[in-house]
Symmetry: C2
């Protein structure tokens, strides 16, 4: 297949592009390198030393003998550039990772809220409009998030995108309906992915675009088979308060001898998936496109659900470091249950990696190796979720993170 | 109250601003005059000769003794200008009409699709972000559309924004939930208002903003008590294929002796409201804000539902002109039923104007008066809804419109 990977320089996009290239697909990465720019803006960097995109691509050619093309296009701002690239490529599939993807960053301030909505919605919409305008039957695979569902915790297993409900009409008849799961996003970032869902629904219905939306859990892990092949191919490892996911922050804290900072009671339950499974799931999705005219295919991309407290306990058990509870900057319940279906990928025979199987490996291999690049000052989350949160409530350097 | 009317130069915004000023509120209109620019772009004009905004405001001061302030700000592009204006005004309420509001225009081509989403979403989001950033408890009243509900026609009366449903959990228990009505927008314009709903839901929940969303039917009529006071205050009357609503197009066709062009069978049923009631409903909404922390208050703003065929028959009955059926450019069913609740405004004692009561009056007073400004060439809709619609299927000048 001819595949364009939008956002192919990022944490999920890069290993996906390598895997698709290894599998013999013709791959073009399109990226505006925005995460590298935001690293500069925030004064943070990946724990792993990622190389320039040109070096990455040269290394891939060296170790695999395969070429991945690259175009630097800001697809949210440069519609003409996007449309010209698509016209030239005429891809069979587009994988769309090209969105601002950190919830805390999206809640930092007015500018980051606006950037997240403006960037993510225009990126997705420009892509949809261009595919329609070109008359292409390209399969669009988008990375969504489990976070669009919200965490109501009423015991319902979260279905894959669509909820079966019953409504009563005025004659007292019960009518069954299958509806998009009513979203309850918890941040502007999650909101942007909820908006994406409605964009996809419209264009699948009006223009018969073939779209798969992958609602992914929190990704952990760093390396894949392909990124391990050369130091210059190493994937990102973010641990800062904006882009670092909870597990990465625990791992760097543990290896460097800091207590593990848990927001609130840690009763928040989340979905998790390993980066290697992200790559496999995207590949499976590409091989199973919905037919034209179908509704958007929504698949949950998770291996397990765990509470933040349980994840902290796992890391503490392996490393022996203590857990420190700090105030939660997010506006959310102290705890929730979360059960979510992942029957599509299970049904395709995927044997997903669990935290308990591979956690130690990740700890030792990556975090130990790049220990000297660790900067404890960037770990705390600094975003205030609402004006109800007083600055004093946000965990500062003095809380939880001191050695 | 101190009230900012965003989009206050437009068809609904202008008469609303006048009414609020007459009622003693301190009113500031903010508008980037985009509809006047789009008139130029499309080569069309309002049947009524609307005057420059400065003339309008001077005339209002002359006839009423009251001053309405005006600021030209593009709220989707100029966040700093918007925030500075809000900081200066510290309004009790903001009425938000500042969106591209024509479904056919939103479906013309790639550029108008992109403009509609980019403009409408950033306008709404910038406003929400600014109110949060300023820490204001301003009541936001937004003009939504009945079109977000879609026209499924399964006999269910459309509720006011929220649908009561039952979901079954894995233990077989039935759980009642009240959810945002699952939207099925029929155009990119309607899609933009569906996206707005999710933005409002998030900011009401996360930041306790007080928001009222008015889901309005198709507006008909032109003048209100205030706009009649002086020729320079006259409201817009759009009849072109993009911005002209169905009734306006029938009226200009009838008065000028053309057959009334009905798309398809005319079985499409829509909600209608007179412009005078729009103004009264907005005023009532302003006087009944939801408390902070409440979910978004959604109110349906309609007086009646009618099929397009029935509306054509009414106009034909009054004027004696024949009806001509032409192909429908929209992707929609040939006919649908539509029943929708308007209990909130009925409950507030509003006696709404019906088509049968006031239609003739409008015909004679406005369309006859400005008959010499009629241009038959701009009446047909030229937007293709999907790539399935061949250009030949779109009603051209040769079909239906020839005298």
């Amino acid at each position: 297949m001819k595949i364009v990977v939008l956002g192919g320089d990022g944490f999920c996009g890069w290993p996906t592009a390598l895997r698709l290239s290894r599998d013999g697909h013709s791959v073009t990465i399109v990226d505006n390198l925005s995460h590298r720019r935001i690293d500069q803006e925030l004064g943070v960097q990946s724990l792993t030393p990622i190389t320039a995109i040109e070096e990455r691509l040269a290394a891939w050619q060296r170790v695999s003998g395969r070429t991945i093309a690259f175009q630097n296009i800001d697809i949210a701002r440069d519609y003409d550039g996007l449309a010209a690239m698509l016209a030239e490529q005429a891809p069979d599939a587009v994988v769309h990772f090209a969105e601002q993807r950190a919830a805390p960053y999206s809640m930092r301030n007015a500018a980051t809220k606006r950037y997240t909505i403006d960037n993510n919605i225009n990126a997705t919409h420009n892509l949809l409009v261009a595919l329609v305008d070109l008359g292409f039957d390209t399969h669009l695979v988008h990375l969504g998030t489990m976070g669009v569902y919200g965490y109501d915790g009423d015991g319902l297993e979260i279905p894959e995108g669509y909820l079966d409900v019953t409504v009563s009409n005025q004659a007292g008849q019960s009518l069954p309906r299958s509806i998009l799961y009513p979203t309850q996003p918890g941040s502007v970032y999650h909101l942007s992915k909820s908006l994406d869902q409605l964009l996809f629904q419209f264009y699948a219905r009006n223009d018969r675009l073939r779209i798969t939306d992958l609602h992914q859990g929190i990704v952990w892990g760093t390396q894949t088979e392909e990124t391990r092949l050369d130091d210059a191919l190493v994937n990102r490892f973010d641990y800062d308060g904006d882009y670092g996911t909870v597990l990465n922050r625990f791992l760097v804290q543990a290896v460097n001898g800091y207590p593990l900072t848990v927001h609130g009671s840690g009763g928040q339950t989340r979905a998790f998936i390993n980066i290697q499974d992200t790559v496999r799931c995207v590949s499976l999705a590409l091989n199973n496109p919905p037919p034209p005219g179908d509704r958007v295919r929504i698949t949950n991309q998770l291996a397990e659900t765990q509470s933040v407290r349980a994840v902290a306990a796992m890391v503490a058990g392996i490393t022996g470091v203590p857990i420190a509870n700090v105030d939660n900057p997010r506006k959310e319940g102290e705890s929730n249950t979360l059960r979510a279906s992942n029957q599509t990928f299970r049904g395709l025979g995927l044997d997903l990696i669990l935290l308990k199987d591979a956690l130690l490996n990740e700890t030792l291999e990556i975090v130990e190796r790049y220990k000297d690049r660790f900067n404890p000052e960037v770990v705390p989350a600094r975003s205030l979720w609402t004006r109800d949160n007083r600055p004093g409530l946000v965990p500062g350097l003095g809380e939880g993170i001191t050695k």
